[in-house]
């Protein structure tokens, strides 16, 4: 297998990328640490509910199936427990499902290649039976009940439903107690055979391994997958939000809130993607960060506390800005956010060179310190990889961003008509 080396001399970091004859793309990030971390991921998540392959008809599957499949892959035909296979090697395995990716991972401090082989082996050997699907229902039902009691999870899920009318990012990752009961071994195999084709997957290994070593394990564990073309149905998302407001009572002490603003400019992969993400992060720092007038004013007024924070979540088909926190008056916070954004958009507040430099330093420092633990390195790599971007380019793209870029971004992306809010509030005491 031919590996291509990518290096950033400022960060003093490199990685190697290659395409194995099985069809699987592999990334090796050498790190001289005892803890090795590997993730084997498929471009398949909770939002991929309608799809077709190679000319067949579209099929629609029950909500929560990607997550259910993730649970079931740990089952094996001969009944051996997958977790124990890792534990016996001194490794620790896990998996997660998000809107658009399912990832199987382990960390190990010895027997790296043996553990890697187990990872590749169990993910490529599904075993779904009526009995083991039935058995999983109870476990997943308790997982969903746990989320039901979590006000933060509810707010986030309902925010997605508020922001998006059609985009399936609004489907809950775990589905619902009702939808998972529609799942059968046959549907699981359909989804597996479509999305777990090696050409649709990636392996990222970070730690003290050699290229030959990793390739050797791949040769041994993987059979070739025929190239596949997967057509995921992506609904045309209207510009407008689905809903402006939703609330629910929870056993919480004070109201907690999520406020979202929908991004409509989703153009560009690779460097453009990184640039867009940085622009939003700089705006978050300037407008709402802990040094901003907004934050300090609302904090002094007692409208927000230290739990207030903002983020920008993005992918190829959806992206949004989110502010979250706790307040006795969440609607007042929303009004102030709108007012603040209008001020910045219309030139009522100007970007000072000091504040701009400060925001850049914050992000530069984060992009350097992203190269600490093997876990963070591999997970960070995966995020950018899925967006067609190269994580080594972060510092360079960041330094290229100008004040004008930020002013333009404020105008193109922060339309305060495109906001939605969710509030989890305490029951009114009689």
């Amino acid at each position: 297998m031919k590996f291509t080396k990518h290096t950033n001399s400022l960060l003093n970091e490199s990685y190697y990328i290659g395409k194995h004859h099985s069809g699987l793309e592999v990334v090796v990030i050498p790190k001289d640490q005892m803890t090795l971390y590997a993730t084997f991921a498929t471009r398949y998540g909770s939002m991929d509910n309608t799809f077709k392959t190679n000319g067949s008809d579209y099929i629609t599957v029950p909500d929560g199936i990607a997550h259910f499949l993730e649970h079931k892959l740990f089952e094996s035909e001969d009944g051996t427990d997958t977790f124990s296979r890792f534990t016996a090697l001194g490794a620790s395995a896990n998996a997660y499902t998000s809107n658009e990716v399912t990832s199987y991972l382990f960390s190990a401090t010895e027997n790296y290649y043996e553990a890697l082989e187990v990872l590749l082996d169990f993910v490529t050997h599904p075993y779904f039976s009526k009995e083991n699907v039935e058995k999983e229902m109870g476990i997943i039902e308790q997982e969903l009940r746990m989320y039901e009691d979590n006000p933060y999870r509810w707010m986030y899920q309902e925010l997605l439903r508020g922001l998006y009318q059609k985009n399936t990012v609004n489907i809950p990752v775990g589905g619902t107690v009702e939808s998972i009961h529609e799942i059968t071994p046959e549907i699981l195999y359909d989804c597996y055979n479509t999305f777990y084709n090696l050409n649709n997957m990636v392996l990222i290994v970070c730690g003290n391994v050699t290229l030959d070593g990793v390739e050797g394990v791949m040769d041994k564990a993987l059979k070739r997958s025929e190239p596949v073309s997967i057509d995921k149905k992506i609904a045309d998302e209207p510009r407008e939000v689905a809903r402006e407001y939703a609330e629910k009572t929870f056993p919480v002490a004070y109201p907690v809130f999520n406020i979202g603003l929908k991004e409509t400019d989703l153009k560009g992969d690779g460097r453009a993607y990184i640039k867009r993400e940085f622009e939003h992060s700089i705006i978050a720092e300037l407008v709402f960060g802990k040094t901003s007038e907004f934050y300090n004013a609302l904090y002094s007024e007692g409208l927000i506390n230290q739990k207030f924070g903002t983020s920008y979540y993005s992918s190829r088909t959806w992206a949004f800005f989110i502010a979250s926190g706790e307040s006795r008056d969440p609607k007042a916070v929303l009004e102030r956010i709108k007012k603040e954004l209008e001020l910045w958009r219309e030139g009522g507040r100007k970007i000072s060179s000091e504040a701009f430099e400060r925001a850049k330093r914050v992000l530069y420092s984060a992009s350097v310190q992203a190269w600490n633990s093997t876990t963070d390195i591999a997970e960070g790599f995966l995020d950018y990889y899925l967006a067609g971007a190269d994580v080594l380019e972060l510092p360079e793209v960041l330094s290229s961003i100008t004040v004008e870029d930020i002013e333009r971004r404020l105008k193109t992306s922060y339309d305060t008509e495109l906001m939605s809010m969710t509030v989890a509030k305490p029951e009114q005491k009689a």
Binding site: Q33, M34, Q142, R145, P251, T291, A366, N372
Partner: protein, 426 residues
């Protein structure tokens, strides 16, 4: 696996520096821990101080200016927090900085961050001999809200309730974030006095993990303490209680999932020569995904998504947890007791034993790779009569046998069962 090399030196009376050289990460970590006895008053005051110190200092007289200085210094993080560690209230100052090697203009990020941190700690904004009234009142309200908001996270909230029931009458029952009633009575002057007392008398342990040289760290830290007249008090201790209460407590909330806790008293503290036998017992019972609890209560009986057990090596408490359907309390308890009986009867396969050992060894090795977690690991074990290190613990646990686990399982005694369940609808 080599032992972690820690170089220890005295900085001032009762102030010790523990230096660990580590070049794995691009971050230097400095953790400063002040230890006080765990009382509701100390916990409340320490939590309130932690919030107030972020409001500004003499050099940076507002929150915006303080945050701005940190951000300009390449986003140095400065965290003040108070937490419960065994029966201690620990006030911690944590500083994490991007290593100087990555400073684009050769700035001394590390020294600047220490200066900002100590300025905020030792010279906060004051008026009339106390904290500035406006900030004091606002942070009092924030802490009040934060203590009440513990209920927002049901898993953690149920644990706090459980411990307060099981350890009723012991310092360990104290809520680590503080007490609402005590909070109401604190004044700005008292609180400033508490901070002064703490910085001058509480035992202080400073951990550095990173690339700066030991001499340089020592010199800088010494300089930071120059304005403080130290007269160190003694290191607070945690009391081991072995007498059990035999309580069975049920509480309810409007929730979908119920939380079941089972608590046992054990003689297992870090100072015990048998401590690792209990660690291994915990790993076999519910310490990992190949444990008896996970394999049976979750995988075989499908009773839960989350279940695990843990061992507190400071307080000598073994606890087991499961998040279950409110209807399944008895079923889950019986399944747990059955597994415990199996362990006591020696029904532990060679695989179960080896898996439990290896999972623990892997954890110890991973901790050594994590400079941000190492300080807390060592700090928790400072009072131990037996010096502990992740690599020695890993080596020692490999020597243990099924008999050791069985022996440990027979030393534990049930104290309290706590159940947080769904409110019955009328």
């Amino acid at each position: 696996m080599p032992k972690t090399k820690i170089s220890t030196s005295a900085v001032s009376d009762g102030v010790t520096l523990y230096y660990i050289n580590d070049s794995k990460y691009k971050t230097d970590y400095t953790h400063i821990f002040f230890s006080m006895p765990l009382t509701a008053e100390n916990a409340t005051k320490a939590s309130l101080v932690a919030k107030l110190l972020k409001r500004g200092s003499e050099r940076y007289p507002s929150m915006a200016e303080l945050n701005s200085a940190l951000d300009m210094n390449y986003s140095s993080t400065l965290g003040f927090s108070a937490f419960k560690e065994g029966e201690k209230t620990v006030f911690s100052v944590s500083v994490a900085t991007m290593k100087n090697a990555y400073a684009p203009k050769g700035e001394d990020i590390f020294a600047e961050a220490l200066e900002i941190a100590f300025d905020a700690l030792l010279y906060p904004l004051t008026e009339k001999g106390g904290f500035v009234a406006e900030y004091f009142e606002s942070e009092k309200k924030n802490l009040h809200d934060s203590i009440l908001s513990q209920i927002n996270n049901k898993g953690a909230y149920s644990r706090t309730r459980f411990i307060s029931q099981m350890c009723e009458g012991e310092p360990y029952a104290v809520n680590g974030e503080g007490d609402i009633d005590i909070l109401e009575g604190i004044t700005a002057t008292q609180l400033y006095g508490f901070l002064k007392d703490m910085t001058s008398t509480a035992v202080c342990d400073i951990y550095f993990v990173g690339s700066e040289s030991e001499d340089r760290v020592k010199t800088l830290v010494k300089a930071c303490f120059e304005g403080v007249e130290r007269q160190s008090g003694k290191r607070p201790e945690t009391t081991l209680v072995t007498k059990v209460k035999g309580k069975d407590v049920t509480e309810s909330l409007d929730i979908a999932q119920a939380h079941l806790w089972i608590g046992y008293r054990t003689p297992a503290t870090y100072s015990s020569p048998d401590y690792l036998k209990f660690v291994l017992f915990n790993m076999v019972m519910g310490g990992d995904v190949s444990s008896k609890m996970f394999m049976n209560i979750r995988e075989k009986l499908s009773l839960c998504y989350t279940c695990y057990s843990s061992l507190d090596g400071m307080k000598g408490i073994f606890t087991a947890y499961a998040g279950i359907d409110p209807e399944n309390k008895e079923k889950t308890l019986n399944a747990f007791y059955q597994e415990l009986e199996n362990v006591r009867a020696g029904k532990i396969s060679q695989d179960e034993l080896e898996d439990a050992k290896k999972a623990y060894v892997n954890r110890m090795r991973e901790i050594q790779d994590n400079p941000s977690l190492l300080p807390a690991w060592f700090h928790m074990r400072l009072e131990s009569d037996i010096p502990r290190d992740p690599s020695t613990d890993a080596e020692e646990i490999m020597k243990l046998t099924v008999d050791d686990v069985v022996w440990a399982s027979k030393q534990i005694e049930k104290d309290t069962v706590y159940f947080l369940t769904k409110t019955a609808k009328n």
